[in-house]
Amino acid sequence: MSRPNPSYEGSRRQKFMQWLKGEYDPSEGKLETTEPDTSLFTDSEYHEIHLYLRNEYADNEEHFRRGVRKHLTRIQKLYRLMAVITAIFMTVLLLWAVSYEPSYGDPNAPENNEVATRYIEHGLAETGAINIVAGMILDYRAFDTFGESCVLFVALCCVLILLRVDADEEAGSHAREAMFDRHFEPKNDIILQRMCRVLVPAIVIFGIYVVLNGHLSPGGGFSGGAIIGTGLILYLTAFGFANTERFMTEKVARLFSVAALTFYCFAKSYSFYTGANHLPSVISTGTPGAILSAGLIVYLNICVGIVVACTMYSFYVLFRKGGY
């Protein structure tokens, strides 16, 4: 029975048996290992990184010891005591208030008044949105929502101030950030890349669907934008900056966000201005249920979606590397 099968050599079965015995590694030669990329940095620079990282961990240990030894000063203890007392007091206060609130699920609670009724009964006619919540936040209470987009914008500005590595930063910080990024992040992982080829288009298309149908179904600019942003982040994780920078640079993100917010600002200013001065508005609500209906809502959702997607992606990039 030991007659060698000529087709056995190099067959899948043989490879499988070898893999079982541990003689063969299917990923061999197909995965990039963490060999230093000598084209990026010289050996001495790599040595420096390793020293830096080792010191960092040593520092941590030292801090940990110090933290254990650290005894809190009297003021800190008092502060803690006060915080706990405040918390207990607040629990009692809030529970006391809740116990007199209208009960859960009560249709006659004071909040279910003419305001909510009008949003539901006339919302479709007045805003054209099937999703009443979208109609409410983007038409009845649009000023709040514009403010909300600006909060996100302000947060982006803050994070840029804190983390963006600019040309006028102290020398070498850009290179250091890049080194750290190379050191920690996954590199050309084949499983991740294969899965991303399938998942990323689906995620992005789903995000676009959620944005475009914000006035027709649950969803809207924020949720859809967050989904698109997640897709982009996944793509970046799998394929690295060299690939994403072909279409998503800081300039693109910046221009898109500003263009979207500017459109939002002008569109809403027009509607506030005409509304307050009782002027006729040229914006029509369209056919309820159609994709291009509900007046400005669909465009505003697109704007919010763009802003959120760019912001989420920028947050990730800035947290990871300090720049695009």
């Binding site: 208030a97 909040e111 000023f143 506030f272 001065n277």
Partner: protein, 498 residues
């Protein structure tokens, strides 16, 4: 509706738009855009103020096509317009007054972001002033908090990061309390706009239902805003945040940001939560007591502090105490005094924070009293500006600080007997303490120090900064000499509130 009535809305949208556009401009263009925007806001607010005073009316402005209980609204009256004028003026002067330091302290590549923040801060302050909607107020409170945090950390250093995160933690506690109070208020009234909510509250008060939640809501919202504005026991973040960042940021944080929250609180008391009903409650008494404690403890901390900027920051704690003491008196006169003090404290603190760095520059970077000896002789103009600011803080006649102290003392006469006596005694103690710590610095900076003459080389000679400082000095004198029109405007604006 006449075009002028649209101006408040234009100011808000204009400042928001400038903030957005500054994101893609370079630093210099963003700076010019910011200055032009603030000037435009100032002019438009002046026109609005004039219109409101001439016609003696207030009006609401629909943000959209839907009227009061359904759509967002802003409300404009004399008091709002007056505050907008002062906020825009102080913003303009603070930025101009610290412009050379800004160029030095802020990285070139991040200047546009800084001006973007300033624009949005202006927008959020204007929205806090004008809003007639509680939820809009919450959203713009958050913009205000985040931009203020950006102003603190714009000068990147470990110390500023620490103060920024401490500021964020305290602010978020305040926002959380405010938001849960707002949610409860919504759940018992069903309205988010101030006017319908106050009508619903009046009915609830008549029928006696939901008394307990209403009391808790009042506590939560007041404490939330008090935490954010830095009332005494919640003041721990103030000295660090005001003390080490770039002077423009310190001036704006202390003279505008905390005032925005207090103005919102006063508006809430008057327009929603029924101020006259509050007089019977314990809440105003608590605010009064905390205000008094803040007045004295802030000054005591200032005396113990040697660093000039931190000392001035502690003095802000005391001044916030004054304002809450005025509100806590429980009379309309008290609130008027508090409103006047908001304006005058803004003028004084902006002046002090803007001129202190010039004194520090001619003292080799030393900000302690010993190091500052003779600084006013090396930079005479900054020394004069500091002296004016300090005198105003102490309450020397002809300066604005005197008028606000006088108004507080006069307002106390109308309050309850115990409150009157306590307020007078506290005013006296606090003024004495003010004298101690400000005059001692004034004496130090005028003491001759011949061995330091060489440091005078570093004196700043920026004409823009000097003009701005001169403007702030003039504002201090103007508010001190010609206070009656301002007081009258505050009074008539406050009577329009209810």
């Amino acid at each position: 509706m006449s075009l002028i009535q649209n101006f408040p809305f234009f100011t808000i949208i204009l400042s928001m738009f400038s903030g957005i556009i500054s994101f893609i401009l370079n630093g210099k263009a963003a700076k010019w855009l910011h200055l032009l925007m603030t000037a435009a806001v100032l002019v438009m607010s002046l026109v609005t103020l004039n219109w409101c005073m001439v016609n003696n009316v207030s009006y609401t402005f629909m943000m959209g096509h839907f009227p009061a209980p359904w759509g967002n609204e802003i409300r404009v009256g004399t008091l709002e317009a007056l505050m907008a004028v002062f906020f825009a003026l102080l913003m303009l002067l603070s930025v101009l007054g610290g412009i050379a330091n800004l160029d030095r302290d802020v990285q070139d590549s991040k200047k546009n972001l800084f001006y973007s923040m300033l624009d949005l801060l202006m927008a959020s302050l204007l929205a806090l002033i004008y809003t007639n909607d509680l939820f809009t107020a919450y959203v713009f409170i958050e913009i205000c908090t985040l931009t203020a945090c950006g102003l603190i950390m714009i000068q990147k250093s470990g110390r500023n990061y620490v103060s920024a995160i401490r500021y964020m933690i305290m602010s978020q506690i305040g926002s959380g309390l405010f938001l849960i109070g707002l949610s409860m208020l919504y759940s018992v009234t069903g309205h988010l706009l101030m006017t319908p909510a106050s009508e619903a509250l009046a009915q609830l008060a008549k029928s006696g239902s939901f008394d307990v939640p209403l009391e808790v809501i009042l506590i939560l919202m007041t404490v939330g805003l008090a935490v954010k504005s830095g009332l005494y026991p919640f003041h721990t973040w103030i000295p660090d945040s005001y003390g080490y960042t770039t002077p423009t940021s310190s001036a704006i944080l202390s003279s505008l940001v905390s005032k925005g929250y207090i103005f919102l609180l006063i508006k809430l008391f008057y327009r929603t939560l029924d101020f006259n009903g509050l007089e019977n409650g314990k809440l105003l008494d608590i605010l009064f007591v905390l205000g008094i404690v803040g007045m004295i403890m802030g000054s005591v901390d200032a005396i113990r502090e040697d660093n000039l900027r931190r000392m001035t920051a502690y003095s802000s704690v005391a001044q916030i105490g004054y304002i809450f003491m005025g509100i806590g008196l429980g009379t309309t006169a008290g609130v008027e005094a508090a409103l006047f003090h908001m304006v005058s404290h803004g003028a004084m603190k902006a002046l002090l924070f803007v001129c202190i760095p010039d004194l520090v520059d001619v003292s080799g970077g030393r900000a302690d009293r010993a190091g500052l000896t003779g600084a006013a002789r090396r930079n005479r103009f900054a020394g004069f500006a500091f002296t004016v600011g300090a005198m105003s803080m102490v309450g020397i006649p002809l300066l604005t600080g005197f008028v606000s102290k006088y108004l507080f003392a006069a307002a106390a006469t109308g309050a309850l007997r115990t409150k009157m006596l306590t307020a007078w005694i506290a005013l006296a103690i606090s003024t004495t303490l003010n004298c101690v710590y400000f005059l001692r610095v004034v004496l130090a900076i005028y003491t001759p120090a011949p061995e330091k003459e060489a440091l005078a080389e570093g004196a700043a000679h920026s004409p823009v900064e000097r003009t701005a400082m001169a403007g702030l000095i003039a504002l201090n004198f103007a508010l001190g000499v010609a206070s009656p029109p301002v007081v009258w405007a505050i009074r008539s604006g406050l009577s329009m509130f209810s």
